[in-house]
């Protein structure tokens, strides 16, 4: 048997699962997006843009902002773990940063809901420390709460990937640049980050698409308008049984997410070429 055929045979069962349990329902929902009372048409999309344009923009802004913040934070953490000179400080950070990594999104939603509320633990601590007066305390349970929840949960995952990639870089180039007197910020930006760019991109894309799909965080933290598309889809199905608009919203999220995945594909093809 040729190696090619064997390879395809080995991949096939896993691909079949994706095909039947994801692509097929995905096609059903894509077709459903264009179905208005049994006939094909654009009706669902007109309705979607009438009702949810604000939420589409809201979702894109929130997820993009979170992705940028996650990228900065994970490069900072990975960079300090790689370039930090004080072993105790590095050990503290290594111990500290990973805690939220595997905490389920629904748990993140629950604990941040109580932490970020107007009379939650964050404001209470600031008030007790005298940094805030009770009158100035505001609830963070709006778009800021969603961004905080996403960054809180996703940064450790990306930082773990990035720090791992940074650890496997050839140290000689770093030492050479250091001996030439390069500052550590410059080392990080000009030497370390370019070498882990691929891993960082993969981590951020995985985070981006994960955040696009999370229902529990917007439901738990901010279900009022404007909210994220996932909450809108759930609302459309649960309250109106309106699968047409729900499927149209789903299709719009797919376009948003796949445009990001396309960046990855292009980068990886370029690297292989």
């Amino acid at each position: 048997m040729s190696r090619r055929l064997l390879g395809l045979l080995l991949v096939l069962p896993a691909l079949a699962v994706i095909a039947f349990l994801f692509i097929l329902p995905l096609i059903m929902s894509a077709v459903g997006a264009f179905q208005v009372e049994g006939a094909f048409g654009w009706g669902n999309f007109t309705k979607t843009f009438d009702l949810y344009t604000k939420d589409i923009i809201f979702t894109v802004v929130i997820v993009s902002l979170s992705t940028v913040l996650i990228g900065i934070a994970s490069v900072a953490i990975g960079g300090y773990l790689t370039l930090g000179e004080h072993p105790v400080a590095v050990a503290i950070l290594r111990w500290l940063y990973r805690w939220p990594m595997f905490i389920p999104f629904i748990v993140v939603g629950q604990i941040l809901r109580t932490f970020l509320a107007k009379n939650g633990m964050m404001n209470n601590t600031f008030i007790n420390l005298g940094l805030l007066t009770p009158l100035d305390a505001v609830s963070f349970l709006d778009w800021r709460g969603i961004v905080i929840a996403f960054v809180w949960k996703q940064t450790p995952f990306v930082a773990l990937l990035v720090a791992g990639a940074m650890a496997s870089i050839n140290r000689d180039t770093i030492e050479a640049a250091r001996n030439l007197g390069a500052s550590r910020l410059r080392l990080l930006v000009e030497i370390v980050v370019p070498q882990v760019a691929m891993t960082l991109t993969v981590g951020l894309i995985l985070s981006f698409v994960t955040m696009m799909s999370v229902l529990s965080v917007p439901l738990m933290i901010n279900a009022q308008s404007p909210t994220m598309l996932t909450a809108d889809i759930a609302f459309r199905v649960n309250s109106y049984g309106d699968y047409g608009v729900a499927n149209a919203l789903g299709l719009i999220s797919l376009v948003l997410a796949s445009s990001v995945a396309w960046i990855y594909l292009r980068a990886s093809l370029k690297e292989r070429a």
């Binding site: 390879g7 699962v17 929902s29 953490i77 939650g120 601590t125 009770p134 650890a167 891993t199 799909s213």
Partner: protein, 279 residues
């Protein structure tokens, strides 16, 4: 965060670097552990209302409610664990051959195949799960453990396959070749040489899949509920009902395995495997 000592060796001012470090680490610790501590307080709060910063009375009456035989939480816990374990077994059975092929054998459209496993993570699952529920209803898989496991497998495969691929490509291909040259068959060489070497990476992918399954909410809701109750669903309904004590205890039950795995994951996921994820 990048600010740190440049000359820690003999500089007497080096100790001063602990001031910015202390502030940054302190803030990080507050934002990481504050919410977790808040959760712990809620699990033992008997009475806690505005404007008090701390509970007025502590006790374990909510715990007794959760673990009561008819509380429903035990059943949710068992269901969640069974589903997660079955999901791991099924995902690895699919991901080991696929990961090996993607790492070692010449495959046409390799990038596209890798990307295909990302699809379930790239689409708001909700609409897909609604349609899966419709299909499963037809073939009587709705409301069964098997149905929920299948949904979780499709969702967790990206971790299983990507990490398994990275784990296999981190192993020197010549080791397997050496075993072949000594007369071992292809399957024998894989079983005795490559698989044990890849085991830590595969263990890491199993951990990711397990947690992904435990975390999963939307699919379980559409395909499982109300026949198969899972912990995330219990958490959501109790939190929506305003019962923060029960919600927090459920959240804690979901948290403990997550934290345990977090502490041990780097033992399995080494840098050489990590740097190959997604390549």
């Amino acid at each position: 965060m990048i600010a740190a000592p440049n000359s820690a060796r003999s500089n007497p001012l080096a100790a001063l670097w602990w001031v910015p470090r202390g502030i940054v680490f302190g803030l990080m610790a507050f934002f990481i552990f504050g919410p977790l501590f808040n959760l712990l307080l809620w699990t033992v709060a008997e009475k806690w209302y505005f404007p008090y910063s701390l509970p007025l009375e502590y006790g374990f009456s909510s715990w007794a409610k959760v673990f009561a035989p008819r509380g429903g939480a035990m059943q949710s816990l068992t269901n969640s664990l069974i589903v997660a374990l079955l999901t791991v077994v099924a995902s690895l059975a699919l991901a080991i051959p696929a990961g090996y092929a993607l790492a070692r054998l010449k495959l046409p459209l390799r990038g596209l195949i890798l990307l295909a496993f990302l699809i379930p993570q790239a689409f708001p699952n909700l609409t897909v799960y609604v349609n899966i529920a419709r299909i499963f209803y037809e073939i009587r898989l709705n409301g069964t453990i098997a149905g929920v496991v299948l949904v979780h497998v499709s969702h967790g495969l990206v971790y299983a396959v990507w990490i398994a691929t990275a784990a296999f490509s981190a192993i020197d291909a010549e080791l397997e070749q050496a075993a072949r040259n000594l007369g071992a068959g292809a399957f024998r060489a894989f079983l005795d040489v490559t698989l044990p070497l890849a085991a830590p990476g595969l263990m890491a992918s199993a951990i990711f899949v397990f947690l992904e399954s435990l975390d999963e909410f939307t699919g379980s809701y559409f395909v499982g509920a109300p026949d198969v109750n899972m912990l995330p669903l219990l958490l959501y309904t109790t939190a929506a009902g305003g019962n923060y004590q029960i919600a927090s205890i459920t959240a804690l039950l979901l948290l403990v395995p997550s934290l345990v795995f977090m502490l041990i994951v780097e033992r399995f996921l080494k840098a050489d495997v990590l740097s190959r994820v997604g390549h």
